[in-house]
């Protein structure tokens, strides 16, 4: 008689439980020194339920299948010169920002989950974290492989890893993950697994991938699809962590709430880059940032927090401010990059009349009043041969590290300045959200590596702009400045001319 096949639940139990060891000559706290210092109380590790119940053998099989499909599409894309089929050469700047700003975060996520997977003493969450760690490593690899095809033709991509550690605006996403990875394992899980993956990642992956598809970038869409099934698993892990912690002990609630507040706000700031991609950088826009925020945060996030209310968890502090900022953030961010285009590793441009009309339609209360005049003024200046640059370095927020370009809640004409004193030193912030984060852990954030201050201290290659750009390994004149007049534009126009000739 053949042995009866195990059910999914039993099989999962066999593959994940009992994998740890009972220590004999060392206390268990010495083997797992990190999962208690944050103050989280766990009574029963075995209460962890992994809703996906994915075992390692199933994981390999499933992921291998996805890899085969991904690389088949990438080969086809390369052989058919898919890069010539995107909507417009400007589109590629979205991909550059993604590769320099987001893909290294996948690697950071891999490292962070590997660490959490080692340091949680419960075997269930440990297996789940290790699985996610592998996913994240796969994501950075597939993204690099996908985008490497574009690197044969377009500027600004080749030094992405070096740039991630050095370039001023990339300190924004980098500091987000540095902050999370230098926290304890539970804070890390809430920061990335819950706040980023569950509450905010939809805003990155769903509208951004639609934007890629709409602009003919089938290559990027393919890695998006390949990653998306992992993302849903990660989101489930994020929500499971929250529920597990809140069910284990009532003392966990205030700690978790504080982390949710903190990481929501930090995530909101980082995603401002995506806001700008959606509203300004897609030659064929798909939906405004404000619309995306309403669907994926206000509605989806709202429903999630209603579910979590039974544990006593409330929506993140300043969610209302973040929602009000959805009117402004993309315009303010694009304005930052336009005036610092000489120090950015991608191209900028002014929205044309048609694009500005689209923005007016999407932002009827604010665009024409506050932002259209700014772009029209710059357009006029450019026409007169006086293209507008900001030749000084910006004041940065001590927490999010973004130039302090955001305005007061309710007053889009006044910059929001906040500051605090810690042991006789002054620190500046762009918002109450960022100030609160600092005030809760000043010892951590006084150590922030602020690019502007580092340049002034002489730690970034020298005192002049060319010195600093060399330190960034920026190929000046190709990687940076306006799209109009760039080698990218020249190449794109040649391709278009070739297409027309072929058709005649």
């Amino acid at each position: 008689m053949t042995a009866k096949k195990l059910g999914l639940k039993q099989r999962y139990a066999h593959m994940t439980r009992g994998l740890d060891w009972e220590t004999s000559y060392q206390p268990i706290d010495k083997v797992f020194p990190y999962d208690q210092f944050e103050g989280i109380k766990i009574k029963d590790w075995s209460a962890w339920e992994d809703p996906f119940r994915l075992t390692m053998d199933a994981y390999w099989k499933f992921q291998a299948e996805k890899e085969r499909k991904l690389y088949a599409v990438l080969d086809a894309f390369a052989q058919n010169n898919g890069q010539t089929g995107i909507s417009d050469g400007r589109y590629m700047n979205v991909v550059k920002l993604f590769l320099t700003g987001v893909s290294p975060l996948e690697y950071q996520a891999h490292r962070g989950f590997a660490y959490a997977g080692r340091h949680l003493r419960g075997v269930g969450p440990r297996v789940a974290a290790q699985m996610q760690s592998l996913d994240e490593l796969r994501h950075v690899q597939t993204q690099i492989h996908t985008i490497s095809h574009y690197n044969k033709f377009f500027d600004g991509i080749g030094e992405f890893q070096h740039m991630h550690d050095r370039v001023w605006y990339l300190s924004v996403p980098k500091s987000f993950f540095d902050d999370a990875r230098s926290a304890g394992p539970f804070e890390y899980m809430i920061a990335i697994g819950f706040a980023f993956e569950y509450v905010l990642t939809n805003l990155l992956f769903v509208p951004f991938m639609s934007g890629a598809a709409y602009n003919g970038d089938m290559s990027t869409v393919t890695f998006g699809f390949s990653a998306q099934s992992d993302e849903s698993r990660h989101m489930t892990l994020g929500i499971e962590v929250i529920k597990f912690l809140l069910e284990q002990h009532p003392d966990n609630l205030p700690i978790v709430q504080k982390w949710v507040d903190k990481w929501f706000w930090r995530g909101h700031r980082v995603l401002g880059l995506v806001a700008m991609m959606m509203d300004y950088m897609l030659p064929k826009p798909v939906m405004s940032w404000k619309e995306a925020w309403e669907i994926y945060f206000t509605e989806a996030g709202g429903a999630l927090f209603q579910d979590l209310a039974r544990y006593g968890l409330r929506p993140p502090k300043y969610a209302d401010i973040a929602t009000a900022e959805a009117e402004h953030i993309s315009h303010q961010n694009w304005a930052i990059f336009y005036q610092y285009t000489h120090a950015a590793a991608f191209h900028t441009w002014l929205p044309d009349a048609k694009h500005m009309d689209w923005l007016s339609e999407k932002y009827p209360n604010t665009f024409d009043k506050y932002y259209r005049p700014r772009f029209e003024m710059w357009g006029q200046m450019a026409k007169e041969g006086k293209r507008f640059y900001n030749m000084a370095l910006p004041q940065l927020c001590q927490t999010c590290q973004i130039p302090m370009g955001y305005t007061e809640p309710g007053d889009p004409t006044t910059i929001c300045f906040r500051r605090t004193q810690f042991r006789g030193e002054t620190y500046h912030f762009c918002s109450d959200g960022c100030k609160d984060i600092f005030d809760n852990e000043p010892e951590k954030y006084v150590q922030a590596w602020l690019p502007v201050h580092q340049i002034f201290q002489g730690n970034c290659g020298g005192a002049t702009i060319p010195d600093v750009l060399a330190y960034y390994r920026m190929n000046v004149g190709a990687d940076n400045m306006d799209y109009v007049g760039s080698p990218d534009e020249k190449l794109w126009n040649e391709w278009q001319a070739d297409k027309i000739k072929t058709a005649v």
């Binding site: 990190y34 210092f37 103050g39 304890g184 000084a392 370095l393 004409t413 500051r419 500046h428």
Partner: protein
């Protein structure tokens, strides 16, 4: 100590990264022209504390804001200055330090009658 850390003496190891002594004799000064948000944020400079305020206006403030169409119309005698939340009339002959500009001070100024391109605060 408010930070939750694995190491009990974490506080002893923290590095205040932006202390004045790290800036080679200069102090960081932030400057912002109000109602002119085409300059996306306040701008930062490493400056000697002994710099006279008049030199600060001539060598720092003016060249960095000259690109704006409103710039030529500024009546410098009417400018309203604020140093760290306090409205002040700086003594132009005295140094930044004597005018109360400290390390990482924020200097904001308003130019009455000028509210940016077409009154949009841009």
């Amino acid at each position: 100590m408010s930070v939750v850390a694995l190491t009990p003496d974490y506080e002893k190891h923290i590095e205040f990264r932006d202390l004045e002594k790290n800036f080679h004799g200069n102090r960081v000064v932030y400057l912002h022209w109000e109602q002119h948000l085409s300059f996306c944020s306040a701008i930062a400079f490493p400056l000697p504390p002994s710099m006279p305020f008049a030199a600060f206006v001539e060598a720092i403030v003016k060249p960095h804001y000259a690109a704006h169409p409103d710039f030529q119309r500024i009546d410098w005698s009417q400018v309203v200055w604020m140093i760290d939340d306090e409205k002040k009339t700086p003594d132009m002959d005295k140094s930044l330090e004597e005018n109360g500009v400290k390390h990482k001070s924020l200097v904001r100024f308003w130019t009455p009658g000028l509210e940016g391109y077409k009154g949009s605060a841009s």
